[in-house]
Symmetry: C2
Subunit: 113 residues, 2 copies
């Protein structure tokens, strides 16, 4: 069993092309050797965004704090606020944006394979 | 894509034997047909607890609010507070307890298979 606090986990710059002002913490990641999925915490600064992209790995998302938008495959924006839940199926285009004035912070779970 | 708020999702009594004062919301569950894992929100009232048990499915956990304990396979208790992250590997005995004065609320991700 691992029990820790998210603030003890390194907050890395999310280097992917098309990402602006995004950081990531691997709360439960490769080092923990879980069998099926990883738990990540994403932080987007005001004015920042993730890439507008698609990929085979689904996302299950829970918004912890801040305000922003998730852009769907049609380009429509859906508001994100504390307690919002989002499911992005495999190969569905999506983007997370922070158009608020504070950090947008959320959990994003992805499969390993 | 599904975008909703957790409060719109039914809060069900967690009926498992050994559970006391526990409720569960399937934030992303069977109806959403995700390929690998489900995202659940668990609420434990003060004085309540989940069963002290083990099973083949791992747990990845993030504490949203409240205070409590997670009991490990040795019977040792580890404190839970907002922002605590816990990973319970497959077949490791564990229990969640609320010994605080408010609701203990957390996310718990489990594999489908």
């Amino acid at each position: 069993m691992k029990v820790t606090h998210y603030q003890k986990i390194e907050n890395l710059i999310f280097e992917e092309e098309g990402a602006e002002k995004v950081k990531i913490r691997w709360l439960i990641g490769e080092k923990d050797n879980p069998p099926h999925f990883y738990l990540r915490m994403i932080e987007i600064e005001p004015g920042g965004h993730t890439p507008y992209h698609k990929h085979p790995k689904e996302h299950e998302v829970y918004i912890l704090e801040g305000e922003g938008k998730i852009v769907d495959f049609n380009g429509n924006e859906h508001p994100l606020t504390e307690g919002t839940v989002a499911y992005v199926p495999p190969m569905e285009k999506h983007q997370f944006k922070n158009n608020g004035k504070k950090i947008l912070r959320f959990l994003c779970i992805v499969p390993i394979k």
